[in-house]
Symmetry: C2
Subunit: 152 residues, 2 copies
DNA sequence: GTTGAAATGCTGTGTAC
DNA sequence: GTACACAGCATTTCAAC
């Protein structure tokens, strides 16, 4: 992956868009003391380069009924790891899945409606997979901070 | 927190906005076979209720120079936990910080430029805090899936 | 990088059904 | 919930600097 040349202005644009993805070019231009056209071109370039992956919306998962957040550390037999990961990724309950260093190679974040659904996920969907040697699970109690943007 | 009555249409709107936060009311209306006004009112209500927290932009952290992603499990003395969490939350390198069940109560995701910055974070900013009894760290090797939206 | 102008399209609002 | 209309903006694209 090629390193992009992101300058201070780009970072300011990204910061403003993180806070308000609907902010208009004109308002960004005013904020940064540049012209609308310059802002538009920078944003387009940031999108082309893949720095901006997409415009989106931040949803409060509690309020759409996903009351239970769980994190899993999953150890796999080395030869099964990719297959296990790819299966988990297909599961819509799995919000994220990372390969990490350390004894527990796969880290996974799961969102479900309730504990019944969590129990079903663990027993029917997770433990059913071949090649898993150990699972450690944690339930989320409190969010102190949640992906509130990068340090730009 | 009051449970909202989110219906199937709301979920479809949220899904579309997750994929493209800039999608116009008109296009959403066409997609769902409703009127423009109906879509606008639903989105406004979703924002008022806090279901939609904000419109934002998804940034590829690698491409803005955050090459290293690390996860920490931090055990604290019970009386220090909230203070430790609140201090960490103030740190811009900390992307998220959760209190979990299980032996490691605080889980934390940190984004930094490189290993020098990570080392500095660990030694100067994390280990310097009072009340921490154990830290386990993991470095991200590979993203199989990354918060690609809720299962709506 | 800037400004200006014109065409187009979307939003916000109100009205009526 | 729908349909329509109107004003106010924002975006897009052009040209010129």
């Amino acid at each position: 992956m090629r390193q992009m040349k992101i300058d201070a202005t780009d970072r300011k644009i990204l910061k403003l868009l993180t806070e308000n993805g609907r902010m208009s070019y004109v308002d960004i231009a005013k904020e940064l003391g540049l012209s609308r056209v310059a802002i538009r071109e920078r944003i387009n370039q940031l999108m082309e380069e893949g720095v901006i992956e997409k415009f989106s919306v931040v949803i409060n998962s509690d309020k759409v009924g996903k009351k239970v957040s769980a994190f899993f550390e999953v150890d796999c037999e080395p030869t099964s790891l990719v297959k296990v990961a790819e299966t988990l990724v297909e599961n819509p309950k799995v919000a994220s899945c990372y390969q990490m260093t350390g004894p527990s190679t796969l880290h996974m974040h799961v969102l479900v409606e309730d504990f019944d659904e969590l129990e079903h996920f663990i027993n029917e969907e997770l433990y059913a997979l071949q090649g898993i040697t150990r699972v450690e699970s944690h339930i989320l109690l409190r969010r102190f901070k949640s992906r509130s943007g990068l340090n730009l």
